[in-house]
């Protein structure tokens, strides 16, 4: 099967090329939704595997980045939902939880605590909108939902965080 080899090699090369550019962004998305490095690694591995399986059938090369980010976002949201549903998100031990991340100071300590209480969709919306600067419509596209849902996620997330930070 001589023709298959260069095509497979091309697919591998193009996949790896995109991954090398987007690796940090994808991991950042996974971590920001899951807030657990081990979970984020597993989620990214699974999301990339899903993407690689369909890589050959993807026609629009220019849409590959968006497509890859979309897979990652939705896989992480679903994974986090599964964790919550099965109630197996073991919190850090209390002594660990009490020690604030030394990189945070002032308001960021409260912000960190309030962010961790957001739903996975809210985390995704907040991270994509505020960190990556995606518009509401772009967030909706990446999260595979309507723009109205993204606005709702953002509004509720901000309300929740403001409330918590005001009371802190």
């Amino acid at each position: 099967m001589v023709p298959a080899t260069p095509r497979a090699a091309d697919a591998e090369a193009s996949f790896d090329a995109l991954l090398s550019v987007e690796r940090r962004r994808l991991y950042g998305i996974a971590y920001s939704i899951l807030r657990d490095h081990a979970e984020a690694e597993d989620a990214l591995q699974d999301a990339l595997l899903k993407a690689w399986r369909s890589w050959g059938s993807l026609r629009k090369e220019e849409a590959r980045t968006t497509w890859l980010v979309r897979i990652c976002v939705n896989h992480c949201i679903n994974r986090r939902r599964g964790l919550s549903l099965r109630r197996f998100a073991i919190a850090p031990r209390r002594e660990d939880a009490a020690a604030a991340d030394p990189r945070f100071e002032g308001r960021l300590v409260d912000l960190d605590r309030s962010y961790r209480r957001l739903s996975p969709q809210q985390r995704a919306a907040v991270f994509l909108h505020y960190h990556h600067g995606y518009s509401i419509d772009e967030c909706a596209d990446l999260m595979t939902c309507g723009a109205g849902s993204v606005r709702t996620h953002l509004a509720r997330a901000l309300t929740s965080m403001r409330k918590e930070m005001t009371h802190a």
Partner: protein, 212 residues
Amino acid sequence: MPDDAMASPLDLGDDLRRYFAITTATELPRRVREMSAATLRPRRRSYGPLLGGGGAGLAVAAVVALVVVGLHHGATGGAGSMAASSGAALANPRVSVAYPGVDTSRLARAGVVLQPPSGHGTARLTPAEAQAAAVAASADAGGPGPAVLAWAQLGAGTPASTCLCWVVEVHLGDGTVNSPAGPAPTPPIHNVLVLVDATTGRIADTVAVPGP
């Protein structure tokens, strides 16, 4: 609603940007740095035929059977069953005891590894006594969950402390847990796993399980 409709006197935009700049500025884990089409493919090849051939159900059934057998043998403490279970545990030290609704891998990351109890002695406490001890150790506790006997490795220290424990989930009303060091305020934790030493009845450890 336009994007700027979310602005308020307590505008979090700048804080969020600073916050994410910090949280995403970490070095990528080695496994992530090494991810590529080549490292993804072997996993696809190995799992594909198994899942496609309906082997997933068999694999799940085998794992469930292993856990059930381990629990049953541990609770009864029979000599034959002890040998069988501890043999399986020795052959595969990653064999873990399940607690309903709790993922043992996440539990392990919190520093607690539950393994089959066979070969580690006999529980002096009954399950009911362990449940009572777990409830007594938790302020404003609701009803306890089932008591599951396990050989627990506690903490990430070297060597990790171990004990034969009854594992009991307890629902909390006010998010406060009594530890040997005294009551401590916590974030809103609604459930905890209490590990009760099956020999002495002391509380060996308490692990928080956040509510849904």
